[in-house]
């Protein structure tokens, strides 16, 4: 067990290091999340209701996460890194866990900017929203990493990932928006936790089949 976590941590560290040296994904995500909020301000009348603002936040978070997920397996594909990873003496699901942790790190860093920006622009950032975002992050990265691995072996590549991901993300949006605007966020947070648990188990168990040829 300790060995497994160590493997995953090493793989996650590799991705974070790559990002620190290349600086390709994270700056794009930060810029996108702020630009997205501004665009939505002009697209939708947020002054009329705070609930609309909460919805915008969730859309922006989802699309920003997609940006990170689309980039997640680019190095593996372009440098044929995946073959090396598959040969490494570690459990294959550790590759998934490592990648998920790295994407989670990027997503959390982005949200550290996005949530205050949202509070400044639109106001009304409650604890329900923060808790919802934290739980939703886990669901987004676990499912997203599995789907990104699937999309990376297809001919269509990046084009395919949003198509695979968005239908699966609808329950996250329901839970997240519910947690943001409901008077009783507990139910929605519970639902998000359920989603996280179910899809984390499925992704963990099935990643091996996705990458092996």
């Amino acid at each position: 067990m300790r060995r497994y976590l160590h493997d995953a941590a090493v793989l996650a560290r590799k991705d974070v290091l790559l990002e620190l040296r290349g600086r390709e994904t994270l700056p794009a995500m930060l810029l996108f999340v702020v630009a997205g909020l501004v665009v939505f301000h002009f697209a939708v009348p947020t002054e009329e209701s705070e609930d609309v603002g909460a919805g915008l936040l969730w859309v922006v978070i989802l699309f920003t996460a997609l940006l990170a997920l689309v980039r997640a397996f680019v190095a593996e594909r372009e440098q044929r890194l995946m073959d090396g990873l598959l040969l490494a003496p570690c459990d294959r699901s550790a590759i998934w866990l490592g990648k998920s942790l790295a994407v989670l790190a990027f997503l959390v860093l982005t949200e550290l900017v996005a949530l205050p920006a949202f509070a400044i622009f639109f106001g009304g950032l409650g604890w329900g929203t923060v808790a919802g975002v934290s739980l939703a992050n886990i669901g987004i990265v676990t499912v997203g990493t599995l789907l990104a691995a699937m999309a990376s072996v297809t001919r269509a590549r990046e084009l395919l990932l949003p198509l695979l991901f968005l239908p699966l993300a609808i329950p996250i949006v329901v839970g997240g928006v519910g947690a943001s605007i409901s008077d009783d966020p507990g139910r929605y947070l519970g639902f998000l936790a359920l989603y996280d648990a179910v899809f984390a188990i499925i992704s963990w168990a099935s990643f091996e089949y996705v990458v092996s040829e």
Binding site: V143, L146, M150, A151, V153, T154, R155, A156, L160, L163, L164, L166, P167, L168, I170, P171, V174, G175, G178, R187, Y188, F191, L194, Y195, V198, F199, I202, S206, Y209, V210, S212, E213
Partner: protein
């Protein structure tokens, strides 16, 4: 052949029962689309479940035949899903005056599933045929069958009182004659579904044999 005959017989009796036996309730004549809409929806679920089961068997045993069966089931499931959307839409138009009703959670669920399974085809046909395509398709089909209850819960969470809930925990809220008709309709739809599944599978297998033969000749 036998399944096709049974399916045809059941379909004829189902239509006859809907037309002459089932009572017209307070909703008027348009309520009769219920006998088609709901069985089609349940059949679509059955297809998706079958697709996932075959996908699971593929991942477990690794037999190419299971991959083909899983694909055929999902393919027909999507067609029935589309039919559910169309019949539901017609029902919504007549009952509530709009073609689309976001308050109708079952329809919304089918829209999500329809989008999800359309992506299944995009995914499948974007990978070279081979074991990797088969296992990725299988994993995606398995995710789908988990997405059904999760999405259902999500939609329930958003709550609506618009859609008439026919089956509650207290059992079906239907008169006896309605229930008989519904049951025959469901049986007919499942028999048709099974026949279609067998036919498409036979066609796909023939296709495969033909391709193999052609490769041998060249």
């Amino acid at each position: 052949m036998v399944t096709a005959t049974v399916a045809a017989a059941l379909a004829v009796s189902a239509i006859a029962l809907v037309a002459f036996y089932a009572p017209v309730d307070q909703d008027g004549l348009n309520q009769k689309i219920f006998y088609f809409h709901v069985p089609i929806a349940l059949t679509a679920y059955a297809y998706f479940a079958l697709g996932a089961l075959k996908a699971f068997l593929y991942l477990w045993k690794g037999d190419d035949e299971r991959d083909l069966e899983s694909y055929v089931a999902v393919h027909l499931g999507v067609i029935f899903g589309l039919l559910t959307l169309v019949t539901g839409s017609i029902w919504a138009k007549i009952s509530w005056g709009h073609w689309w009703e976001w308050g109708d959670r079952q329809l919304v669920l089918f829209l999500i599933l329809f989008l999800f399974y359309c992506a299944y085809f995009m995914l499948r046909f974007s990978i070279e045929p081979g074991p990797q395509r088969a296992s990725i398709s299988a994993v995606f089909a398995l995710i789908g069958v988990v997405l059904i209850p999760i999405s259902f819960l999500a939609i329930r969470l958003a709550e609506s009182l618009v859609h008439p809930v026919t089956f509650t925990r207290d059992g079906p809220q239907m008169a006896g004659s309605q229930f008989t008709t519904f049951f025959v309709c469901l049986a007919a739809m499942l028999a048709i579904a099974y026949t279609l599944y067998r036919i498409e599978l036979a066609g796909k297998r023939l296709d495969q044999h033909l391709r193999e033969l052609r490769e041998l000749l060249t």
